[in-house]
Symmetry: C2
Subunit: 328 residues, 2 copies
Amino acid sequence: MKALLVDSSSGKPVMKIGAAHKPEPGEKELLVKIMATALNRADLLQKAGKYDPPNGVTPILGLEMAGVVEKTGPGVTLYREGDKVFGLLSGGGYAEHCTIHEDLAMPVPEAFSFEEAAAIPEVYLTAYQAIIWLAELKEKESILIHAGASGVGTAAIQLAKNLRHARVITTTGSDEKCTLTASLGADLCMNYKEEDYAVSLEETFGKNSVDVILDFVGSPYWEKNLNVMAMDGRLIYLSMLGGSTVENMSLVPILRKRLTIKGSTLRNRSDRYKIDLTSIFWKHTYPLFASGALKPVIDSVFNWEQCEEAHQKMEENLNAGKIILNGM
Amino acid sequence: MKALLVDSSSGKPVMKIGAAHKPEPGEKELLVKIMATALNRADLLQKAGKYDPPNGVTPILGLEMAGVVEKTGPGVTLYREGDKVFGLLSGGGYAEHCTIHEDLAMPVPEAFSFEEAAAIPEVYLTAYQAIIWLAELKEKESILIHAGASGVGTAAIQLAKNLRHARVITTTGSDEKCTLTASLGADLCMNYKEEDYAVSLEETFGKNSVDVILDFVGSPYWEKNLNVMAMDGRLIYLSMLGGSTVENMSLVPILRKRLTIKGSTLRNRSDRYKIDLTSIFWKHTYPLFASGALKPVIDSVFNWEQCEEAHQKMEENLNAGKIILNGM
């Protein structure tokens, strides 16, 4: 089969379509003809050699896909050839075919394109895991979502609003992105390039007002995050794109406000964990996707031959929502 | 009634017996003639003016007691006059009498002296909350307990061993204290003044081997704690006696090892929380106290007239286990 492979022959790694081994579906696995996949920041890291795939996982990039079941492995009971499915992958989405455990696959909802379905798994499952499982966001609590216009950010806004009727506060890097997060239901949207989010937040909602924070930024926000959190607040790190070293950090608020700080990634979780997460997620969100209350935010769709352009767009933080590849 | 009061007239605050208002039992409250109380580090902080009691709480020190029910308030159904009870207080243990909600009181087990019973509430409830509720220690996991010979430390060793059959690792500040923690069941005891606990721990049990850490020390141990923790490890802060500012702290392990860091104190929790904690704690531990498997470690017993000496001992870290006051 064809797949997008990392070509480092020129010194700078670039994605090029080449030949790869077509996988065979194992026990309870589906072989899927991929119709669309979506970009994740981990793809850029892996391409740059900074994020090795877990042991036993294909080196082909791509953490999610939507497509059509081409063949079922032994013991498959949930899907048949021709079914439209989508789901999370440990890798291998940038290709014509992949295999996926049937319990990790979800049926593509009617009226959803493959591009829309491919935009769901990573960001919604990551946001669901962070908000519902790790932070245990409660009804009407207050959540601060950094990088609110990112894929996970947009999914998090929708989930916090729809599942918990939370007060949602976002930071983004441009006024256009602020407008996007507001349109998704955020109650307060701040452009971090133009205002100090901690100050604006405190002016609007008072001191110590945030119950949950989703952070992708890391050390630059450590102190402010701890300061704006309420008693029993939960701070969830999903990445630390802005740095990970804090100088002169005070641990006092952790104790004084009984804070919880958690780091998490989805990719290195066990299959069992991902299956449980997928299953509970889909049960709680399927009706909301079907009704249109949850709707993946798609920034742009590229033919997979233009993968480099797509990567460039993400690298430069120019996307609001997911970047999709199709045409494989 | 008489009570130990903070006398700051000489400039240096000292404890002196004086007259205080005898409390009246309210709805569902017991009036208790206190027979013994126990010291907590919070007492020293409050005496020094560094830890104000929560709103509405008596300024009299003392966070736990054992005694005899002298009178029951309206609606009390669980106890009668003459019953021996013990339990957690928000304050007021350094006195002849106190009131306590009947749901916060526990019956003194047969064969337990008042001194032994008074040694239980703060340290066992704190350790139980930290290990079982916050860290969710699982069967046979590995737990590192700093200040292993402290009151909470000794309770934590016993609870981790008896309730979860955990591998218990302790740090203490003297060889005698190491011997004590070993006698309570610790599998590895390290004198932090003579060895680097992270090095010794790694030599004995390998890298990234600790699932749960109970820390009272704070910033001096931040980096080592994060380094020795296993995937999905949980670090619980109960105090930060060694400092709370970390220079050049790396947040990387939080994300890479999916760590959870929580701060907690017991005193500022709601009554509802304390009642739930007491009730579940006693259900799970009563048989173990009755059988002798759990046994409070008492360092020394002072007549309450010698309270200053008792405080001095704790101030100098000379105690291993609880310091008790009686004779009120």
